[in-house]
C-alpha cells in the first residue's frame, strides 16, 4: 500500500500544477469563450494588476490605501492622451503612463507616508478624491464627465497591426500582466521586500536596525503608483475609453477588498480575489435572478470571506500541509 506522502502531491508541486493549469486556461480562453467573456477576462487581468499595486502597499508594507484608483486614473488618462496625440504603440503608452503616475506619487506620497494606519488611509482617500475631481473639472485635458473616447486601438509593437479584436487585445493584456506579475513576484525575495515586511510587522524595530523607513515607504508608494498607472494604460487599451469613474472611489475600494479577501501580502491571492470580485459584480450581478444587485453580492462575498477565510484565499491550506508549531 502506498503511503500518504507517495500518493499525495507536495505543496510546491500542487502549486506548480495549479499555476500551470491557470496559465493554460488563460492562454486558451480566447479560443473557448465568446467576445464578451474575453473582454471581461481582460478587465479582470487589469483589475488584478491594480490589486497587486494595492497589495504592495497594504499587504507587504502594512499601509492600507484607498488611493490607488488615483494613480490608475492618472495612468489611464495619460495613456488615452498619448494614444490620441502621440503614439498608438501600447508599450510606449504603458511606460509613459507608469512614469507619470510615479511622478504624481512623489509629492502625494511624500505627504501620505508621514502618517500610518487610519490617517494614512484617509490621506490616500483624499488623494483619490482630488484626482477624481481633477478628472471631472479639467475638461480641456480629461474631457470632464464625458471622459476621453475614440482612443485608437493599441499597437503591441512597432510595425505590427493594431489590435481590433477582443481576443488579440486580451493576449496583449495577458502578456503585460504576466510580465508585471513576474516582476512583482521576483521582488518577493529581495532585501527590499524583506525590509518592507519588517516595516509592516514592526516599524520602530526596523528604525532601530538603521532603516530609514519613511524613505522605503515612499519608494514602494511610487512603485505601486507606477504599477497602478500601467494597469490604467491597459484599461484604456481594453476599453478605448476613459472617464472619471475609472479614477473613482469604487475602484479603489474594490481593489482594497481584493487584497483583504486574497490574504494580505499574497500576490496570487490578490489576483484570485480580483477575479472573484469582478465576476461577482459583473457576471453574477447580471444574472436575471439577481440583476442589479452586484453590490449586494459583493457585500455578501466580503462577509462570507471574513468569516470563513480569516487569512484570505492565501490562507487556505491543503489537507496534507503541516501546521507550524512553536519549538520547545
Amino acid at each position: 500500500m502506498s503511503t500518504s506522502t507517495s500518493t499525495s502531491l507536495t505543496a510546491p508541486t500542487a502549486s506548480r500544477v495549479a499555476g500551470t493549469a491557470v496559465l493554460l486556461g488563460l492562454t486558451l480562453a480566447p479560443f473557448l469563450l465568446g467576445p464578451y467573456a474575453v473582454a471581461t477576462l481582460s478587465r479582470i487581468l487589469v483589475f488584478a494588476l491594480l490589486a497587486l499595486s494595492v497589495n504592495l502597499l497594504t499587504g507587504l508594507t502594512g499601509l492600507p490605501t484607498l488611493g490607488q484608483s488615483a494613480y490608475f486614473g492618472v495612468g489611464a488618462y495619460t495613456a488615452a492622451v498619448v494614444a490620441k496625440n502621440l503614439t498608438d504603440i501600447g508599450p510606449l503608452q504603458l511606460l509613459i503612463a507608469a512614469g507619470v503616475s510615479a511622478l504624481v506619487a512623489v509629492p502625494t506620497g511624500w505627504l501620505a507616508v508621514r502618517a500610518r494606519g487610519v490617517v494614512f488611509l484617509m490621506l490616500t482617500l483624499a488623494i483619490g478624491e482630488i484626482v477624481y475631481s481633477a478628472a471631472v473639472n479639467w475638461k480641456p485635458v480629461t474631457g470632464g464627465t464625458d471622459g476621453i473616447s475614440g482612443v485608437p486601438p493599441v499597437v503591441p509593437l512597432p510595425g505590427t497591426p493594431a489590435l481590433e479584436l477582443d481576443g488579440l487585445v486580451y493576449f496583449y493584456v495577458l502578456a503585460v500582466f504576466l510580465l508585471l506579475l513576474g516582476a512583482v513576484t521576483r521582488l518577493g525575495s529581495t532585501p527590499f521586500v524583506l525590509a518592507l515586511r519588517g516595516i509592516r510587522d514592526n516599524e520602530p524595530r526596523m528604525k532601530a536596525i538603521g532603516y530609514p523607513t519613511r524613505r522605503y515607504a515612499l519608494t514602494v508608494y511610487c512603485g505601486a503608483a507606477a504599477l497602478a498607472g500601467a494597469a490604467g494604460s491597459l484599461w484604456v487599451s481594453v476599453q478605448r475609453f476613459v472617464s472619471p469613474g475609472d479614477a473613482g472611489f469604487e475602484i479603489a475600494a474594490l481593489a482594497l477588498l481584493a487584497v483583504v479577501i486574497g490574504g494580505t501580502g499574497s500576490m496570487w491571492g490578490a489576483c484570485a480575489a480580483a477575479a472573484l470580485i469582478w465576476l461577482t459584480r459583473d457576471y453574477l450581478g447580471n444574472l436575471e435572478a439577481v440583476a442589479g444587485r452586484g453590490p449586494l453580492l459583493l457585500g455578501l462575498l466580503f462577509v462570507i470571506a471574513v468569516y470563513t477565510l480569516p487569512r484570505g484565499l492565501a490562507g487556505v491550506r491543503l489537507p496534507h500541509q503541516p501546521s507550524r508549531k512553536r519549538t520547545a
Binding site: 532585501p191 524583506l194 528604525k207 532601530a208 532603516y211
Partner: protein, 236 residues
C-alpha cells in the same frame, strides 16, 4: 579614560510628564555597565530615550563624542548604537534567515559581526534558519534579537532586560554571549532586574530610583554590600 558613552542631565518622559529627572552616566570604551532598579524607575525610558524613541526634554547623550540626543532612531542606529529590546520583538512572520538578512542593512558599519560569525556564536539559530520568529522558543527569540542587533555592528549595545521570562539555563547562555560580545571591544549597557546576571557580566552598576541614578559602584563592591542591595533594590 574618556567615556565612550556619556549622558548628562537627561530629562525625558511621555506627553509632558517627566520620567527621567536628570540622568548622568559614563561608560568607558569596551566597558559593561549594568543599570539596575525596581519596576517603574525609568530604566526602559532611559533606553528608549537613548535610542530616539522618546525625545528628551533636555540633556546631552554622546557616543564617541557625537551628540545623538533627539536624533531620529535610524540615524542613531547608523551612528553605531544597537538595541536588544525588552520582550525581544522579533518579526513574527519572518524566518530566522530573513531576520539575519534584514538585520544587516547594506550601509551598516563594517565590523567583526558577520552572519557566519553570528551563527558560530549562536549555533542554535543555525538549526532554526527556516523557522519563523513566532515559532521559536523564548530563548531562541532572545538569541535572535541579540543577533539582529549585532549584525548592524554597533559600537554601543543596549540590552533591555534580556533575561526577562527566560529559564535560568538560558539566562546563563545570554550572559556568556554578552561577555563574548564585550570581549570584542563593544561597549555594553545592560538594563536588568536579574541581579545575578547583571553582577556576573558587568564591571560597574548604576542603580536608578525615581528617574535618576542614585548609586554607582564597581560590581565587586556592590556584590559585597548586601545592605546597599537591600536598601536600593529590596533584594539580598
Amino acid at each position: 579614560m574618556k567615556p565612550y558613552f556619556q549622558i548628562r542631565g537627561l530629562r525625558s518622559g511621555y506627553a509632558g510628564g517627566v520620567v527621567l529627572t536628570g540622568v548622568d552616566l559614563d561608560v568607558e570604551p569596551g566597558g559593561i555597565l549594568a543599570v539596575l532598579g525596581r519596576n517603574g524607575v525609568g530604566k526602559t525610558t532611559l533606553i528608549s530615550t537613548v535610542m530616539g524613541f522618546v525625545r528628551p526634554y533636555e540633556g546631552s547623550i554622546t557616543v564617541d563624542g557625537r551628540e545623538i540626543a533627539g536624533a531620529r532612531v535610524d540615524v542613531i542606529a547608523r551612528a553605531g548604537v544597537g538595541v536588544v529590546p525588552q520582550g525581544r520583538r522579533v518579526f513574527a512572520p519572518l524566518t530566522v534567515a530573513e531576520h539575519l538578512a534584514i538585520a544587516a542593512p547594506r550601509r551598516a558599519a563594517p565590523g567583526p559581526w558577520t552572519r557566519a560569525r553570528i551563527l558560530d556564536l549562536l549555533p542554535r539559530l543555525g538549526e532554526r534558519l527556516g523557522h519563523r520568529g513566532d515559532e521559536l522558543s523564548g530563548g531562541e527569540q532572545q538569541m535572535l534579537a541579540i543577533a539582529r542587533a549585532l549584525l548592524g555592528n554597533p559600537r554601543l549595545l543596549l540590552l533591555d532586560e534580556p533575561s526577562d521570562g527566560l529559564a535560568p539555563a538560558i539566562v546563563a547562555q545570554v550572559g556568556e554571549v554578552i561577555r563574548e560580545v564585550a570581549a570584542q571591544g563593544m561597549t555594553v549597557v545592560l538594563v536588568e532586574q536579574n541581579l545575578g546576571l547583571a553582577l556576573s557580566v558587568a564591571e560597574h552598576v548604576a542603580v536608578m530610583q525615581k528617574g535618576g541614578i542614585v548609586h554607582r559602584a564597581a560590581c565587586a563592591e556592590f556584590a559585597s554590600r548586601p545592605d546597599d542591595r537591600r536598601r536600593l533594590l529590596g533584594v539580598d
